[in-house]
């Protein structure tokens, strides 16, 4: 097990080094813009879910700007890759990413969390590019499994990515899906955990300790990987590795992240889930990003 992890780590590093540095620079800029968009959406209206939106920005940016086979002008192409955000409370991050990726006019972001707006806090398919409306945890993965079976039966070469949260892993429906996906060798299914180590009422290890989560998933029959969820090079490497992995199992990527990533006084803080930020410090935050 450890040898496998070591090997993995080594090959990922190698890949990281060979990754085009201009690509990394571009992704860095995308991530910065998406973080700005999120702050501009959330802070003025004293909205919540800042921390859990910021922790997934780098994962989303790498997926949407480098990995996913998608076309913002043909959002419903039947061969496109599918991305499902199971932690629907981080809708702001997905909206900001989709707007940046050209799925809709960035002006629409201003309707987030507003009376009569279309951008609900919890992610909704009313917004172009969103594949599944979620908000209650434990829904995204089973739906992703359905997509994966259909793709395999129809001979469509697409990958289904499902981003889940630590809290998501408490839901029994996900464990039902973990068993099913392994039993059916759904190698076109990729689960990414935004492991920011916190959930609704406290720290994961205080509420329901998930560790050793990758060992659990490996014993369930999944290919497992661990990455720094804020390191674009590592993320690209792991997604490429998943695509090339010849072992016909579903894939589980534990992405270590920091809640509130990008706002120093929020980073790693539990309260970044619920607390809003005083609008007067918005400029300061945007400056220090």
């Amino acid at each position: 097990m450890y040898i496998v992890h070591y090997y993995l780590f080594f090959t990922m590093r190698k890949h990281f080094i060979s990754t085009d540095s201009s690509k990394i620079e571009a992704l860095k800029k995308n991530a910065l813009t998406v973080r700005r968009n999120i702050i501009e959406m959330l802070v003025p209206h004293e909205s919540h879910h800042i921390g859990c939106s910021l922790s997934i920005v780098d994962i989303l940016v790498v997926l949407y700007f480098d990995i996913l086979a998608i076309d913002s002008h043909h959002a419903d192409d039947r061969k496109r890759d599918i991305f499902i955000l199971s932690k629907g409370h981080a809708g702001a991050a997905l909206y900001a990413t989709l707007a940046e990726r050209g799925f809709f006019d960035k002006k629409i972001l201003q309707s987030y969390d507003r009376n009569g707006g279309m951008l609900s806090e919890h992610v909704t398919t009313v917004v172009p590019g969103v594949e599944l409306s979620t908000g209650s945890l434990g829904h995204g993965l089973p739906v992703g499994v359905g997509h994966a079976i259909a793709a395999r039966n129809d001979g469509i070469d697409r990958i289904i990515y499902v981003l889940i949260s630590d809290g998501d892993l408490n839901e029994g429906s996900n464990w039902e899906a973990f068993m099913f996906a392994a039993h059916h060798f759904l190698s076109n299914l990729v689960v990414i955990v935004d492991s920011n180590k916190m959930q609704g009422y406290g720290e994961v290890k205080e509420v329901i300790d998930l560790e050793p989560v990758t060992k659990k998933l490996a014993s369930f029959g999944w290919n497992t990987y661990e990455v720094d969820g804020h390191n674009h090079g590592e993320l690209i490497a792991v997604f490429e590795k998943v695509k090339k992995n010849p072992v016909q199992k579903p894939h589980f990527i534990l992405a270590h992240t920091i809640k509130g990533k990008g706002i120093p006084f929020f980073e790693g803080k539990f309260e970044s889930h619920y607390k809003s930020i005083d609008a007067s410090v918005q400029k300061e935050i945007l400056r220090t990003l």
Partner: protein, 311 residues
């Protein structure tokens, strides 16, 4: 009834490769034919109804028409939020096939009774609910269910339901069917208990009370116009169902008539009361115990008609 419905689905799967059939590890001795002929489109998801509903949603999002099969409490209550969020909210072509309506599993105990399912499913926007009365109506209904866009809950019996209809007839979701015409009372019936209701009509006729009998095979969208029309001028409006008197056919008819106003003094809703049934027995035995036998229903209707000031 179950066999006839499964047989029809099996037949349609031969010409429509978009149809999938998922089961929650039930259907032993009924589903093997589908499994054998369509190993890829038949999936036993295991005893995991939440996952099953999510999978059905995912499949339907790619254009599949998905039947989901299990015993009613497991396929409606265990996974209610998946039905609401994944299926109804996204308006997907998932057809829930709930087996064991009402007291079909009378010897298995309360966990297997289905007496609240219509109530909760009626609340879901976009959900249609059908409850065929016999094997022929069930198999005719399959085609309608499949043709309808969006989610449908098909509440079916088990096996050995009495045959009521002998030849195929036009059937449309949302359109009730008048089976008998009378001027004293109207009886709305839902599901396999229709054969009891038809016997009630006969007995009432012998007692000098003539009844209109309506087969409400669709509980949602309710044929409200028909409910209003046939209730007009009747001495009593009666609903009969194997379901709680809260939220089912009785509830739906009451809502329709009271919203419209001026039809009758009261609706006699016959079903099960707001309590758990703590004894067991065959379906017929429990119907007798719970006031849903022919004689008990006739008595209730006769006394309701007598109480009418103008009756």
């Amino acid at each position: 009834m179950r066999g006839a419905i499964i047989g029809k689905i099996h037949e349609l799967m031969k010409t429509n490769d978009k149809i999938y059939f998922l089961t929650g590890d039930l259907g032993y001795s009924v589903l093997e034919g589908i499994e054998k002929d369509f190993p890829r489109r038949f999936i036993n998801v295991g005893v995991a109804e939440q996952n099953m509903m999510g999978i059905a949603a995912g499949l339907a999002m790619t254009g599949k028409k998905v039947f989901v099969y299990s015993i009613i409490p497991f396929v409606t209550m265990r996974c209610f939020e998946q039905i609401r969020d994944d299926i109804c909210y996204h308006n997907l072509n998932v057809k829930i096939l709930g087996v064991g309506s009402g007291l079909s599993y009378g010897l298995l105990g309360s966990t297997h009774f289905a007496l609240e399912d219509v109530g909760i499913m009626r609340l879901l926007p976009r959900m249609a609910i059908v409850a065929p009365a016999d094997p022929l109506e069930g198999s005719l209904m399959v085609k309608e269910v499949l043709a309808r866009r969006g989610p449908v809950y098909m509440r079916i019996g088990k096996k050995d339901e009495k045959q009521i209809f002998k030849t195929p007839f036009p059937l449309h979701i949302g359109k009730g069917i008048i089976l008998r015409k009378g001027h004293d009372v109207v009886i709305f019936s839902s599901g396999p208990i229709l054969h009891v209701v038809l016997a009630v009509e006969e007995k009432l006729r012998r007692l000098g009370v003539s009844s209109t009998v309506v087969n409400m095979h669709t509980l949602k969208p309710l044929d409200e116009e028909l409910v209003r029309t046939v209730s007009q001028g009747k001495k009593a409006v009666v609903t009969v169902e194997e379901h709680s008197i809260i939220g089912g056919l009785g509830g739906a008819v009451c809502e329709t008539l009271s919203r419209a106003g001026g039809f009758c003094e009261k609706v006699l809703s016959l079903g099960t009361n707001d309590e758990f049934i703590t004894h067991i027995g065959s379906q017929d035995y429990l119907r007798g115990k719970l006031g849903l036998s022919v004689d008990a229903i006739v008595d209730r209707i006769v006394s309701a008609v007598k109480k009418q000031p103008h009756g």
